[in-house]
């Protein structure tokens, strides 16, 4: 190459780089430093690699049900007794969940339980059908459609074998015999609350939306819920102020983050909006009020 051409290209590239630098400095929103990229790739690879043996070590529905029952029984001993109002709320959740679960792929004995903890902004499911939702999560909800979407999301985790694959994976990692229930049941419940892989979450979001819509609910319940969670997430993100803080945050996130590789709420929101656009559901914005029937009938449901 001629020297002059080199210099021209050099200055062009340098200019491009400086322009990128300028644009990124001008950007109002700061991206937190994290190992999410590497963790996502590693988790993606690990999950993908684990799927092949999953195809060949599938548990039967009966085994899955048994495991779910045992885990649920153990979990029942750890939570306090519900108040009458909470019991009514649980019935309400069970009714919405039962309506949604009717259209799932697999016909499993789905059960829905409210966890009486206002600080628990989460929902999770166990193999075989048990679905749990925290009271904190219910406090966030403004419509029954939001509840239906959340429950549908958890149902899809069960329906698409995400839950039971956790058992399979753990069993394989610990070299356990899958026929021995006791060996599997020592897995802590926190493990189920920790969430799933990014792909699985996306799949549960996507399929959950379809399930909720097939059950007569609005897909915008999902959108509203994600928007609310995204707002919460933005409030709690810590932005490092120096490379030192970056490195320490990085270390902490690397340790914790691998098992919590949830997609960002913004990504989930984007997927939901894309599906709505693809499926032409823009007109299904009407949502049912949350717990209106419960309140009307003074704590009892009329069927």
């Amino acid at each position: 190459m001629k020297r002059s051409v080199v210099f021209v290209v050099f200055f062009l590239i340098l200019g491009f780089a400086l322009a990128g630098l300028y644009w990124s400095q001008r950007r109002p929103k700061s991206t937190p430093v994290s190992a999410n990229a590497i963790l996502n790739m590693a988790a993606d690879a690990q999950r993908d690699l684990s799927r092949i043996p999953m195809h060949f070590t599938r548990l039967s529905d009966e085994q899955e049900n048994t495991i779910g029952r045992e885990l649920a029984a153990r979990y029942a001993t750890q939570s306090r007794k519900l108040t009458p109002e909470e019991e009514g709320l649980e019935k309400y959740v069970a009714r919405v969940g039962g309506a949604v679960a009717l259209r799932a792929h697999r016909h499993l004995p789905y059960t829905f339980t409210v966890l009486p903890d206002h600080s628990m902004i989460n929902a999770f499911s166990l193999p075989g059908g048990p679905v749990y939702i925290g009271e904190g999560m219910l406090d966030l909800m403004m419509s029954e459609d939001e509840l239906a979407n959340v429950l549908a999301h958890e149902i899809e985790h069960i329906d698409h074998y995400h839950c039971v694959e956790r058992v399979q994976l753990e069993a394989k990692l610990k070299n356990l015999n899958l026929d021995i229930l006791g060996a599997v049941l020592h897995i802590p419940i926190d493990f189920w609350e920790a969430g799933y892989h990014k792909d699985e979450e996306f799949e549960a979001d996507r399929e959950g939306m379809f399930l909720a819509v097939r059950s007569g609910y609005s897909p915008y319940g999902s959108v509203d819920m994600f928007e609310r969670i995204a707002k919460l997430c933005d409030e709690y993100v810590i932005h490092a102020r120096s490379p030192n803080q970056e490195l320490s945050e990085l270390a902490i996130q690397s340790l914790n983050g691998y098992f919590r590789s949830h997609p960002l709420p913004s990504e989930r929101l984007a997927q939901a909006q894309r599906i709505i656009a693809e499926q032409h559901w823009e007109d299904r914005k009407t949502q049912k009020p949350f717990r209106i029937e419960y309140e009307v009938h003074n704590g009892e449901y009329a069927r």
Binding site: I13, R27, I38, N40, P243
Partner: protein, 1404 residues
């Protein structure tokens, strides 16, 4: 339907068998190939052998030329030797191949040594003559026709004579002559083995191997699919069971046992007659008798074999039978003169007796057995047998006693058969003792066995007597009588003829008599009696000149000594532990023993030296002398108490020392040394009176310690026997003990503040005494005393109670030590130069050290460092006046002390000294100045000047740098140090001081550490500008300057060591960017990339390699950074976000930098050698791959990567660089992995996704990869395979040389798996069939054989799936559709195959 099922079954069997048959064929093929190779090697070996033989024959022919010539001149009238007629019947040897490379013809006449024109029939008497053949003379190798096969006899016949004329001097045979020498016979006789003529088979070429595989392909494609049939063989299994005999009764078992024993016995007797099997026969006999005895035993005693009823009569009968068998056995076995067999017989006899010994009288059988045994022993000389007999007799008797008395024995209880038992035991003892005395010994071994028997006899007698002891008090008498009798027997003439028997019995007798004493006497009497016995034995031994008695006497004396130690001394010890009272009786006993032992050791040992010259007599006497010493010390302890015991020990020590010096006895020396140690211990433990307070006068201590000291000094005078190191050591130890007592006296008696003076004075006295007496050991004592003086000076009055004004008195008390130290250094009591030098050094160091200590005690704290540095300067200047180098060393050390003092104390001084100058600045500056002075003036020798200069100069610089730390505000220290470093570098450039560059380096290093650890975190501002930015920018600029300014050896510069500074500067720059751009983390990567680009261009422009390396590091850091910030920075759905506009410039930078590293550029050669070009291009590609991974929806990543593959292969073709090809192939494999695990197996279980999700995504990736075949075919073989590639890398290079294979197989695998997983179950086979046809068509189009085989394989897979799964599991409709389409595909392919068969073959 049954027909269909049958067909399906046969087809299935065929399909299952096909790979097995193929494998078998391949295995057989490989075996045949191996056999051919082996034959080739054998053929080559034999060919070589044949050539060697041929050359040998040529040599023989050349040797035979001369005789042949003479023969030609004078023809021999001898008939031609013709081959035998039988030779005609032998077939000719043929060379089968046209590639024979034989240099000589095969057919050769066997004997043509003297051919005559007319052949004569061979005389019958000479059928053949073993003359050497002359093959080489008939035809040269050049004349041979290798390709011509060996002709039959009638055609080859003329060839033999035609070759003959070539040999000069040999008459040419006529054409018809060979007819009488059948060539076939000649060939047969002269030819080597057939294998030598085998033609080497060439190894198959690649083309041939391909043809072989092609044949299989043809078979697969055209033939095997139509073949039905398989043979199944079944092999049966046979079982062997365990054949169990039915249960037998006792009689049957006994009968079998008797039969077996009879068989063994008879067989043994029969076999024993044969010399070869004699041992075997005798073993059989022994075993037979044993089994016979066992059988006899068992008929009453073994439950399973009992045939006799259980009553006393039957028992008696059985015992009688056993005895009968035993006797018969003994008599029978004596025939064979076999000790083993006879011993076995007696063993069984004794067993019989043991079983039947109901009364003591039944034991009489044992007496007869003993007598019989002794008789046989004496007659046959089987002394081993007697040992067995002794054991059997006594143990048999013991067993009988056990049955009567129980496990505890008699324990003094009387029992009825006691006397009879006693008589029996004495009878046994007497019998075997007579046997021992009366026997005739032939060998030494027999004597040893006899000794064992003799000892066993008496030991077992005593043991059994002990067991049955009714009157224990008579044990004394029994031992005495038996011992006396044994001793008496020893003195008999018959015994004395056998020396060993005499010794054994004498020792046994004496031992028993001595052992008898304690049973009757106790206390001191035992030692006295034994001492008397010992002296009697010793006297007898000396008088009779009998060594046994002398040794018995010495050993008895040893026994006395052991008694003294173990019993009498223990009693004395117990008494003295209770109180300090005297023990006159013990004292007398020990005194007597001491006299006797010393008399034996010194008197007898000296008077009859020749009698005690051998071992162990002399060692025993030596032990006696030690026992005497022990007894004397014990006597002194018993007879004296309190402070006087030590004096008594000292007296014994002096007496023994005098005796030892007179006799020059080393052992006596050891004894008085031990007594001296005892004295020392006693003196310290008792005479020092440690229980009393220090510095208190005690009369006995003042009296006895000087006496003890004098005794040790006197012993030291007496102790040295010779002038050798060991003796000098002993003397010095005694002298040390003497000095120690005086020193201890000073320690305990002198006041604390006067102790330094007393010790140093005593040291001076000892030193002067050493000079006067020329005994230099005392000089060593003076050293220790000086050390004590120093110690007492340093530890006296630690609380500083006694003061003179503000100065503690102890500082003045130390002054005599300083003076004494210098005095001793001047007047040392030794003449050894080395010793003198070392001692002088030590004393001057002590004096200087004490002076330093005095200064520390006397001066105020802030000025101690100043005082020391002034003292150090004074010492350094003194060195120049008195020329004593140690003072220089001391100056250095004192200067170091000043440095440490300043370092640890003076930095904390905050108070002002003068104006703005604080006390800290002033004192530290003074110390630093003193150190700079010392760095130039305190070198004791020239060779140390450099080290001294380094040490002090570094120290001074360090002090000043640390002073800057204290004085400069936070944030500005790093630039200050950097400036100090650059100032030092500039000064060094002018003055050329060696240590300054190093100080500059260290300051720069500290600056770096400070910059990284402090300045990076400074958030303060200076006039609105960040202090971090300002300070680190200054530091970075100074570091870049230092990389040019700092003085460094040229060799280092050539190795770019100075670029450490530029590396540091760049690192600081990078860190500065990181910290300053922290508000937007995505900016950091692109900033580093731009920084790296600038560094690279600067390095390229100025041809500075290290700048380019720094650029590479910056670019790697930028690449790493994107994984932590940039890749996850954009919002979902945002295409042109920060991810794109911060990562894309990096990609451009990577490839731009890579583009500037061409192979022809010499300036960047090192970069390429380190593979930075490879790294950069991989970074660029990896950045794109990572960008696409996050930029596109997760299922589309595979497609985007496939597009990158397409672009990379195109780039490889465009710019002609193989790196892009390698990356493309690597990424292709990644596409395969990603597509398989994510898009196929990672997808959901319920495939309700649309066609895009199921087929389009991965299908697009497959399409793009197949499209890249366009480039891949053009890149095939373009870059070649390097010859020097390693074993592991070579296969990869080969793969890279055929990129079209990768680019074909990866999409095909993906497509096939996608169809299998995504297609509806009924349509999978159909889709595969279509895929196979398409691939086959593609293969025909691109003329690629592997593609064609792949298509064929997929079709075969379809057939297999149809037969194995589809025919059973598909819905009827799917089934027939599948059959129609797959069948049509097969027909189509078959048609195509047939049509293009010739073309296909051309592709091979």
């Amino acid at each position: 339907m049954p027909m269909v099922d049958l067909l399906v079954f046969l087809i299935g069997i065929f399909l299952i068998a096909t790979p097995i048959i193929a494998l078998i064929l391949l295995v057989r093929y490989s075996k045949v190939r191996a056999e051919v190779n082996r034959l080739n090697e054998e053929n080559a070996r034999q060919h070589t052998s044949f050539q060697r033989e041929l050359a040998d024959l040529k040599r023989q022919l050349s040797v035979a030329v001369h005789p042949a010539a003479r023969t030609a001149e004078k023809p021999v009238e001898r008939p031609v030797v013709a081959p035998s007629p039988e030779a005609n019947t032998v077939e000719d040897t043929r060379v089968p191949s046209s590639k024979v490379e034989l240099p000589a013809p095969v057919k050769l006449p066997r004997a043509v040594s003297a051919p005559t024109p007319q052949a004569q029939p061979p005389p019958p008497s000479v059928p053949s003559e073993p003359k050497p053949v002359l093959p080489a003379a008939t035809k040269t190798p050049a004349e041979a026709k290798p390709s011509a096969p060996v002709a039959p006899p009638q055609t080859t016949t003329p060839s033999v004579p035609s070759s003959q004329p070539a040999a000069p001097g040999i008459p040419a045979p006529k054409p018809q002559a060979p007819a009488q020498i059948p060539p076939s016979a000649a060939a047969r006789i002269s030819s080597p083995p057939l294998s030598a003529y085998r033609v080497p088979v060439p190894r198959p070429t690649l083309q041939q191997r391909m043809k072989t595989v092609s044949a299989i392909e043809e078979t697969l494609g055209t033939n095997w699919l139509n073949k039905l049939g398989i043979i199944i063989l079944v092999v049966g299994v046979a079982l062997f069971g365990i054949y169990e005999l039915g249960a037998l009764g006792p009689l049957g078992k006994v009968g079998i046992s008797y039969l077996a024993s009879a068989f063994l016995l008879v067989g043994g007797i029969y076999v024993e007659k044969n010399e070869r099997y004699r041992l075997l026969g005798r073993t059989g006999i022994g075993g037979g008798w044993a089994l016979l005895f066992f059988s006899t035993f068992g008929i009453y005693h073994v439950d399973a074999m009992r045939v006799l009823s259980q009553n006393p009569g039957a028992l008696t009968l059985d015992c009688a039978l056993m005895l009968l068998v035993a006797v018969a056995m003994a008599f029978h076995t004596l025939r064979y003169r076999s000790q083993f067999v006879t011993g076995l017989a007696f063993l069984l006899g004794y067993t019989t007796v043991a079983l039947s010994q109901d009364t003591v009288y039944s034991l009489s059988a044992g007496v007869f057995l003993a007598i019989g045994l002794v008789s046989i022993v004496l007659k046959m000389g089987w002394f081993e047998l007697e040992v067995f007999g002794i054991l059997s007799s006594y143990l048999n008797h013991l067993y009988w006693l056990y049955r009567i008395l129980g496990i505890e024995g008699a324990q003094g209880r009387h029992f009825e058969q006691y006397h009879a038992s006693l008589a029996l035991l004495f009878f046994y003892w007497l019998t075997f003792r007579i046997s021992y005395i009366a026997r005739t010994i032939k060998t030494e071994f027999e004597e040893h066995v006899s000794t064992l028997a003799a000892l066993l006899n008496v030991l077992l007698l005593l043991g059994v007597m002990k067991f049955q002891s009714v009157q224990p008090e008579l044990a004394y008498l029994a031992l005495l009588v038996v011992g006396a009798f044994e001793f008496f027997l020893a003195q008999l003439p018959i015994t004395k003829r056998r020396r060993q028997a005499f010794v054994v019995l004498s020792v046994v007798g004496a031992t028993l008599m001595l052992a008898a004493v304690p049973f009757h006497y106790s206390g001191n009497n035992v030692a006295i009696l034994w001492l008397v016995g010992a002296e009697v034995f010793l006297a007898a031994g000396i008088i009779m000149k009998e060594i046994v008695f002398r040794r018995l006497g010495l050993l008895t004396g040893l026994l006395v000594g052991l008694h003294l130690i173990g019993v009498d001394f223990r009693q004395l010890l117990n008494q003295r532990l209770e109180n300090e009272g005297l023990a006159p009786a013990a004292g007398v006993l020990f005194s007597l023993c001491a006299v006797v032992f010393y008399t034996n050791a010194v008197g007898a040992g000296s008077c009859w030296k020749d009698l005690f010259s051998d071992s162990p007599d002399r060692p025993l006497l030596t032990i006696h002398s030690y026992l005497g010493g022990f007894a004397a010390a014990s006597a002194a302890w018993a007879l004296f108490s309190h402070d006087w015991t030590a004096l008594a020990f000292a007296a014994v020590m002096i007496i023994v020392a005098a005796l030892g010096r007179a006799l020059k006895s080393h052992h006596l020396q050891v004894q008085y040394a031990l007594v001296g140690a005892l004295t020392l211990y006693r003196g310290i433990a008792v005479n020092l009176h440690l229980e009393s307070p220090e510095h208190a006068h005690i009369r006995l201590r003042l009296l006895t310690l000087p006496i003890l000291s004098a005794a040790f000094y006197l012993t030291a005078k007496l102790s040295s026997l010779r002038n050798d190191p060991d003796q000098r050591t002993i003397r010095s130890l005694f002298a040390a003990a003497g000095s120690s007592f005086i020193a201890l006296l000073i320690w305990y008696e002198a006041p604390e503040l006067w102790q330094p003076l007393a010790f140093i004075a005593f040291a001076v006295i000892l030193s002067e005494a050493a000079r006067a007496l020329r005994y230099h050991v005392l000089a060593w004592h003076s050293y220790l005393l000086t050390a004590l003086a120093v110690f007492t000076a340093l530890t006296a009055d630690q609380s500083g109670i006694h003061r003179w004004h503000t100065i503690p008195v102890r500082a003045f008390c130390a002054l005599p030590v300083v003076v004494g130290g210098y005095w001793l250094a001047k007047r040392l009591g030794t003449t050894n130069e080395r010793h003198l030098g070392l001692a002088r050094v030590a004393y001057t160091w002590i004096a200087t050290g004490m002076m330093v200590w005095i200064l520390q005690e006397a001066l105020h704290a802030p000025w101690i460092a100043v005082g020391w540095i002034v003292f150090a300067v004074a010492l350094a200047l003194s060195t120049r006046w008195i020329r004593y180098q140690q003072l220089s060393w001391q100056a250095n050390v004192v200067g170091s002390c000043a440095l440490l003092r300043a370092f640890f104390y003076n930095y904390n001084l905050e108070q002002k000294f003068w104006g703005p100058i604080s006390l800290r600045i002033f004192t530290i500056s003074v110390v630093a100045a003193g150190l700079y002075f010392l760095s130039r003036k305190a070198a004791p020798e020239e060779r140390y000047a450099r080290a001294i200069a380094f040490l002090h100069s570094f120290a001074a610089t360090g002090l000043l740098a640390l002073l800057a730390w204290y004085e400069a505000p936070n944030g500005w220290l790093a630039p200050l140090w950097a400036v100090f470093a650059v100032v030092l570098a500039i000064v060094d450039q002018r003055l050329k001081l060696e240590e300054l560059p190093w100080q500059s380096h260290i300051l720069a290093g500290l600056t770096l550490i400070l910059s990284v650890s402090v300045n990076l975190y400074v958030n303060a501002t200076w006039h609105g500008i960040s202090v971090r930015l300002l300070s680190l920018a200054i530091v970075a600029v100074i570091f870049y300057a230092l990389s040019r300014l700092i003085r460094m050896p040229e060799e280092w510069r050539q190795r770019d060591i100075h670029h450490i500074y530029s590396w540091v500067a760049s690192t600081i720059g990078g860190l500065l960017l990181w910290y300053e751009l922290q508000t937007q983390p995505t900016s950091v990567a692109v900033a580093w990339g731009a920084f790296g680009l600038v560094l690279f261009e600067y390095g390229l422009l100025r041809k500075i390699t290290q700048f380019r390396y720094q650029a590479y590091v910056a670019l790697i850091a930028a690449f790493t950074r994107i994984f932590f910030s940039n890749l996850t920075s954009s919002e979902p759905g945002e295409f042109w976000g920060p991810r794109m506009y911060t990562i894309l410039p990096l990609v451009l930078i990577f490839f731009f930098v890579y583009a500037q590293l061409p192979e022809k550029e010499e300036n960047t050669g090192r970069d390429r050698r380190l593979h930075f070009d490879v790294l950069l291009v991989y970074l660029g590609t990896a950045t794109i791959v990572a960008l696409f991974y996050f930029q596109f929806p997760i299922e589309w990543v595979v497609t985007s990567w496939a597009a990158v593959v397409f672009a990379l292969l195109g780039a490889a073709l465009l710019v002609d660089r193989p790196l892009f090809l390698y990356q493309g192939l690597l990424l292709t494999v990644l596409v395969l992995g990603r597509g398989m695990v994510h898009n196929l197996f990672g997808a959901g279980y319920f495939g309700e996704g649309d066609w895009q999700g199921r087929y389009f995504v991965l299908g697009s990736a497959v399409t793009i990869l197949l499209a890249s075949l366009f480039f891949a075919f053009r890149l095939r073989g373009r870059f070649g395979v390097p010859q020097n590639m390693g074993t592991w890398m070579r296969p990869l290079a080969v793969i890279a040389n055929r990129p079209e294979q990768v680019e074909f197989f990866v999409p095909v695998i993906l497509l096939t798996c996608m169809l299998a997983l995504k297609m509806r179950a009924g349509m999978v086979t159909v889709s595969w069939g279509i895929e196979g046809v398409m691939i086959f068509l593609l293969a025909l189009a691109v003329k690629e054989r592997s593609f064609r085989l792949t298509g064929l394989g997929i079709l075969l897979l379809c057939v297999a799936k149809v037969m194995a799964l589809d025919v059973w599991g598909l819905q009827p409709r799917d089934r027939y559709v599948t059959f129609i389409i797959v069948g049509a595909a097969l027909v189509l392919v078959s048609f195509l195959y047939s049509k293009y068969r010739d073309a296909i073959r051309q592709y091979l």
